[in-house]
């Protein structure tokens, strides 16, 4: 078993050190994050493991706040006629009494950095390069440990990355990583660990293992998410309500169906949040598109459909405009499709059974409610947008992410995937219907096929 690599996350106060740790560990509850300076006043560790083997220990440290005065003090520690190098000077400082008084916080940081293999120096890229940051770097450099500058908040509009690059180069720090802890780029962690591997050649195998594992997990998460969305879509496509053709009962059934679909969507959202290790209240705290103003619009509201560019079919538009968007298909029309799909799938018996009862319903004057195609497209769009948002959301994010409408048109118009058309003929595939048979092999096959397409 190799010893885990120890990294100290250091930097000025309020630059997002704890945020960086939250994002790297995918732990939304790590430490405390706030706008106040000196929020973190202790050193706290977190461990990253692969297959149960610890590979990386990250230590969150208090912010450096008074580096100018500290550097001043350090220089005065040198007695006349002696010449101390950085670590020796620090050792004298840490033994002294100021390390427990005025520079107590700074001493914590330096002790931790000395005990670590390297430091991640977090920079708020929106800040100008002030003298105090240069002094900070000088103090940190005297620990004699490699430092990797990490530019945080680079996705902000007014960042000053070029200034920082130049200033760091002047200080001899040429390797640096852009990593926005709130909106990390998809390959952000890989770049960070790769840069670290350049600084710490011995730790390369460990870091490469970590990179490979994180990539594998990212893929696994995406597959799981696609499955969750596919299940939602199959559930909704196969959902069906039988209702007597009587205006009042119809309205009631429509609102019931709508409620069921929305609850089902909410379940999917919660499952996605859980999969991506976000808290359910992260969504309730209005920072997820679904519950945001724009997204909170009525799912069945035709305006929402239009806004998202979903082309509402002309025949169905009337229903959608009426605030329903739910297709009222006369039983006879779907029977043909059901029979065809059923015959293809070899489920002739099953179809014949439902055929009978639906025919009976038709004679009794009942109509069938199913979820409209556009609603399915909208559900898919919304879930995919949520998924994209989750993929690029750091675990330090506190506020909401603006999700753009996807540019590709595949879901907005054109044919629905074959799996959904098929699902329409199998009411027992929907968990929203009574007596569902969710474990049918064909259902699982269709879910797999749909998840592939997503």
């Amino acid at each position: 078993m190799t010893k885990p690599l120890k990294l100290a996350v250091v930097g000025h106060t309020n630059v997002g050190k704890t945020s960086l740790l939250r994002t790297l560990t995918r732990d939304v509850g790590f430490g405390e994050v706030s706008h106040r300076p000196s929020t973190t006043r202790h050193v706290e560790g977190a461990r990253l493991s692969v297959d149960g083997e610890p590979l990386l220990d990250l230590y969150d440290t208090p912010g450096l706040e008074d580096a100018i005065a500290l550097l001043d003090y350090l220089e005065r520690l040198e007695r006349p006629g002696e010449r101390l190098d950085g670590p020796a000077r620090l050792a004298r400082f840490l033994e002294g009494s100021e390390a427990r008084q005025r520079f107590e916080q700074e001493a914590k940081v330096l002790r931790q950095l000395q005990a670590s293999d390297a430091g991640l120096y977090v920079i708020d890229a929106r800040e100008p390069v002030l003298a105090k940051y240069r002094d900070e770097l000088e103090v940190l450099a005297s620990c004699g440990k490699p430092l990797l500058p990490v530019l945080n908040f680079v996705s902000s509009a007014n960042h000053r990355e070029p200034d920082w690059r130049e200033a760091l180069a002047r200080l001899g720090l040429h390797a640096l990583v852009r990593f926005d802890s709130v909106a990390p780029p998809e390959d952000g962690e890989r770049r960070l660990y790769e840069s670290l591997a350049l600084l710490l050649e011995n730790a390369r195998p460990q870091l490469e293992r970590l990179i490979a594992d994180q990539q594998a997990q990212r893929l696994a998460r995406q597959h799981s998410a696609a499955r969750l969305i596919a299940e939602l879509l199959i559930d909704c496509a196969a959902c069906r309500r039988s209702v007597a053709s009587n205006a009042e009962q119809e309205q009631h059934a429509i609102s019931e169906l709508r409620k069921a679909v929305r609850q089902r969507e909410q379940r999917c959202v919660e499952a996605l949040l859980k999969l991506y290790a976000f808290r359910p209240q992260d969504a309730a705290a209005s920072d997820l598109p679904l519950l945001d103003g724009r997204w909170g619009d009525d799912l069945f509201n035709p305006e929402t459909l239009k806004q998202l560019g979903v082309r509402v079919g002309s025949g169905i538009a009337a229903g959608a405009a009426a605030g329903a968007g739910v297709d009222l298909l006369v039983g006879g029309l779907t029977l043909g499709a059901a029979a065809l799909a059923g015959a293809i799938a070899g489920g002739a018996l099953q179809t014949a059974r439902s055929y009978g009862s639906r025919l009976l319903g038709k004679i009794k004057g009942q109509r069938e409610l199913t979820v409209d195609d556009s609603v399915l497209r909208l559900l898919a769009l919304r879930q995919r947008q949520l998924l994209q948002a989750l993929n690029t959301r750091g675990h330090a994010a506190m506020d909401s992410i603006q999700v753009a409408t996807p540019q590709d048109k595949t879901w907005r118009e054109g044919k629905l995937p074959e799996a959904l058309n098929k699902a329409r003929a199998y009411p027992q595939w929907s968990s929203l219907n009574p007596h569902p048979k969710l474990n049918q092999a064909e259902r699982q096959e269709q879910i797999d096929a749909l998840a592939q397409q997503l």
């Binding site: 560990t25 202790h42 706040e65 100018i68």
Partner: protein, 456 residues
């Protein structure tokens, strides 16, 4: 417990949790974590522990016992029906045996079902799906309690995912038929060894040549294995009446046995072996599908990729306090100084002649220079301009306090945001709190009047 049974139970637990909500798994998770290993083995360990606790393991054993019993019954049925086929084909020896009727009753059903099975296998595995649905339906009917209800679907899903169910069913179907054929062969040999049968063929429509050709064609393959084929004269003669000569009886009997072995026993034997091979290799490759949401969610609980190590260097009870105060020395004049402004801001603003400009403090050297100067000539009024977009850290506050200690009266000017930008309200609030603690008055516009004259 075999590897397959472990996977089966794991899948059952996953289905249970998917349908009936999560189980109380604290202890199971802890045990799985301490046992170590990779993620699939931890998931399995957890599932096995839960299965044992909830009696699923017992239910599985019952299931397997039932399956074994059913298999025995099926085998017995196969033996009996195989024997029945042979009896039906040969009859009681009173009348001569019609060879083609005998062949039809021995092989006909077998070959038709073989064809349908092969077609099912080739075309989308419908066969397996139908039998699978039957299996699900049966298990629903026979499931005595809710716990065991997911056992059958779990096996089906597990095998279905790796397309293994068709091979499992193939092994079953083909070995049962093989058994039936062997039983038929045994009875056939016994009957022919102990009874005297005459063999004929009959036709109304076809010519004798057709029968000769057919007999020889069917006998060609068995002949390669050493089975006799009746000669042309024998075949022609058997068209009229059963030949009462030993060599003809033996020739027809070995021909019949040969055809049964080659077209009845061999195909089933080969298919059973093939299916068995596919099933075994497939079973060896059977793994948990970690992409399933149910398993993906277990990862953080069983093999956390990140865990907190706790606090290693505790926070102090309180941070170092910055002392504020005013200069007691004789002071004179007014001074404006700015702290840590960036170059985007025009500085200094227009100043009356009586007000001195100390520039922008940023580096250590500029701080030292100004503090030296202030301690020698303390100003009566000092205005410190700060950019509230910076964070009010202890270093800046200490500098402000030190400057204030060198003047008789000090005020802080929190600058407005540059055009097109807005101040962060939370950060501005932090500045207000910090300055209130230093007991310094602050404002968001320059108190030039006060600076110039000392009056507001």
């Amino acid at each position: 417990m075999t590897e397959l049974n472990n996977l089966w139970l794991t899948e059952t637990i996953r289905l249970r949790e998917e349908h009936a909500g999560p189980l109380d798994d604290l202890e199971a998770n802890r045990l799985a974590r301490t046992a170590g290993g990779d993620l699939p083995s931890r998931i399995q360990r957890r599932a096995l522990w839960l299965a044992e606790r909830d009696g699923l393991t017992n239910a599985l054993t019952h299931w397997l016992q039932g399956a074994r019993l059913a298999l025995l019954v099926l085998a017995a049925l196969a033996v009996v029906s195989g024997a029945g086929l042979a009896f039906a084909a040969l009859g009681d020896g009173q009348v001569p045996v019609n060879v083609f009727w005998a062949l039809g009753s021995l092989l006909g059903l077998n070959l038709i079902l073989l064809l349908s099975w092969t077609l099912g296998l080739v075309f989308a595995g419908e066969h397996g799906a139908t039998l699978g649905r039957l299996w699900l339906w049966l298990s629903e009917k026979f499931a005595r309690d809710a716990k065991a209800a997911q056992l059958a679907p779990a096996l089906l899903l597990l095998l279905q995912r790796h397309k293994l169910n068709r091979w499992a069913i193939g092994v079953l179907v083909n070995s049962v038929w093989l058994l039936a054929m062997l039983s038929a062969l045994a009875i056939l040999l016994t009957l022919m060894a102990t009874r005297r049968y005459g063999f004929v063929w009959e036709t109304t429509l076809l010519s004798a040549d057709t029968f000769v050709a057919m007999t020889q064609a069917l006998g060609a393959l068995p002949a390669l294995l050493g089975f006799n084929v009746p000669t042309v004269e024998m075949i022609r003669a058997s068209g009229d009446a059963a030949l009462n000569i030993e060599s003809a009886r033996q020739a027809w009997a070995t021909w019949l046995v040969g055809v049964l072995v080659v077209y009845g026993v061999f195909p089933r034997l080969l298919l059973a072996l093939f299916c068995l091979w596919r099933w075994k290799t497939g079973r060896a490759a059977l793994r948990l599908d970690l992409n399933l949401p149910g398993y993906a969610q277990l990862r953080e609980r069983l093999m956390p990729t990140s865990e907190r190590l706790g606090i290693s260097d505790a926070a102090p009870d309180q941070l170092h306090r910055i002392e504020s105060g005013v200069s007691e020395l004789h002071s004179n004049g007014a001074l404006l100084v700015a702290i840590e402004l960036d170059d985007q801001r025009p500085w200094p603003p227009y100043l009356p002649k009586t007000v001195g400009n100390a520039g922008i403090l940023d580096s250590r050297e500029s701080r030292h220079k100004l503090l030296e100067q202030l301690s020698r000539f303390p100003p009566a009024r000092l205005l410190i301009a700060c950019d509230p977009r910076r964070s009010p850290d202890r270093g800046s506050l200490a500098l402000i306090a030190e400057l204030a200690r060198n003047a008789s009266a000090t005020r802080v000017w929190l600058l407005q945001a540059p055009p097109g930008e807005a101040l962060d309200a939370a950060r501005l609030g932090d500045w207000h709190t910090a300055l209130q603690q230093l007991e310094l008055p602050f404002a968001d516009c320059a108190p030039m009047n006060w600076l110039e004259t000392g009056h507001d």
